[in-house]
């Protein structure tokens, strides 16, 4: 470990010293390319975020990729119906590691106003791991920018060698997640219990 004083002294001379991990994460966090797809009205806010007024390009994420093979980030923008869910998960599986997910809006994080219905998933985190959840119906572009900055912070803090290393550096961690099948009455299975467990509600009187 380099001494902080020495590091500061060197930086005054124009010499920057940093760990490879920091350089690696700095590069990764500043070029997160999202997958270009939207599901409902939240997608309109996502489009607004990428345009000149909110300018997602400031964060190195202006390049929306039309192919999952070239994307690092999936922004699940909108209502995920049960009919659409397998396709969303398949797209996620087709993205190369390292990959991240932002669940944008009330529907994508919980089912939103359609939660008690028969046709909408109660959150995309039932099947794939979500890194950042944004509430809102739809969230403002500022909220998406905040989520994006939160994701950048998360990427920056990832340690490459410890037990908490990101999934793509762990040979045993899954890169693909099972795609639910269309059943006679519902998706089968209704959620992936390896990814998501219903929280236990404990009450203190």
């Amino acid at each position: 470990m380099i001494d902080e004083g020495l590091r500061s002294e060197l930086s005054k001379q124009g010499i920057f010293t940093l760990k490879l991990e920091e350089l690696y994460n700095w590069g990764r966090k500043n070029s997160v390319w999202p997958l270009q797809f939207g599901l409902a009205c939240c997608a309109i806010e996502m489009i607004a975020t990428s345009m000149a007024r909110y300018d997602l390009a400031r964060f190195g994420a202006e390049v929306f990729r039309p192919s999952p093979r070239q994307a690092d980030l999936m922004i699940v923008a909108g209502t995920v119906t049960k009919k659409m869910a397998p396709q969303v998960i398949r797209l996620y599986n087709q993205m190369p590691e390292p990959k991240y997910v932002i669940a944008m809006g009330a529907c994508a994080i919980s089912g939103g106003p359609f939660k008690q219905g028969y046709n909408v998933l109660k959150g995309i985190d039932r099947y794939i791991p979500v890194d950042v959840h944004i509430p809102g119906c739809p969230p403002r572009p500022e909220a998406l920018l905040h989520a994006f900055m939160t994701l950048q912070k998360k990427i920056e803090e990832q340690s490459l060698t410890s037990a908490q290393r990101p999934r793509h550096l762990d040979a045993n961690a899954p890169s693909e997640f099972p795609i639910p099948r269309y059943g006679a009455h519902d998706l089968e299975p209704p959620s992936n219990r390896n990814v998501w467990q219903p929280p236990t509600v404990t009450r203190t009187e």
Binding site: K82, K83, Q116, Y118, N119, K122, Y182, G183, A184, H185, D186, P190, S191, P198, P199, T200, V201
Partner: protein, 212 residues
């Protein structure tokens, strides 16, 4: 435009054996509709579209309704002699009506700028005789909406060019908009369940206990 009664007599005059009925509407809109019989539906639809005074060239909306078995209560005033005095007594007559499925079409004329005329078709029951003739050959815009009725209510439209499910997936077995539809038990958790959600959670817990 002519009234529904006039329309009814004209249709009955031009189409042999057509049985029509004007359905009253007790709501504030009082928008009445014309019940047509499925056997002559295509002929009636052609008449409505082609007649020079009507020219209903645009079906703006097609929807379904599910009617369960109901008991209709009707108040009838009768005069009866009670204790030697003639009195008017209100009697309630109960009539059982078996359930059926209904398709409702809202028709407008772009050419003559009038409408809507609402026509309805009813199936014989809700179980096995759920066939109705498709009006897509008359109004092309009905295609997707009839598919939606098929998907959500289970009405089978004969002669429809492409009758498949449209919102739910192939292999889905239920008809979600029917009143007796049973949702899958997909309750997960709720921090503060109340009302219908509380009922759902209780059912879910009971089911969970039965399974273990």
């Amino acid at each position: 435009m002519e009234t529904l009664e006039q329309l009814k007599t004209r249709i009955e005059a031009s189409i042999q054996g057509a049985r029509l009925e004007v359905i009253a509407n007790e709501s504030p809109s009082a928008q009445r509709s014309l019940l047509i019989d499925p056997e002559h539906a295509v002929g009636i639809a052609k008449f409505l579209r082609n007649d020079p005074q009507l020219r209903f060239d645009y079906a703006s909306n097609v929807t379904g309704v599910d009617w369960l078995d109901t008991v209709l209560k009707e108040k009838v005033k009768t005069k009866k002699v009670v204790d030697g005095v003639e009195k008017e007594i209100e009697e309630i007559i109960e009539k059982k009506r078996p359930g059926f499925l209904e398709a409702v079409y809202h028709l407008y004329s772009m050419e003559l700028k009038h409408g809507p005329v609402i026509i309805r078709m009813r199936t014989a029951n809700r179980a096995d005789q759920v066939h109705l003739p498709s009006l897509t050959p008359i109004w092309r815009g009905c295609e997707f909406q009839e598919r939606e009725i098929f998907d959500l209510y289970g009405v089978v439209f004969d002669c429809h060019p492409d009758l498949r499910r449209i919102l739910m997936w192939e292999g889905f077995q239920d008809y979600p908009m029917r009143k007796d539809y049973v949702e899958p038990d997909d309750y997960e958790y709720e921090p503060t369940a109340h009302d219908k959600v509380l009922e759902k959670s209780k059912k879910h817990e009971a089911f969970g206990k039965a399974m273990t």
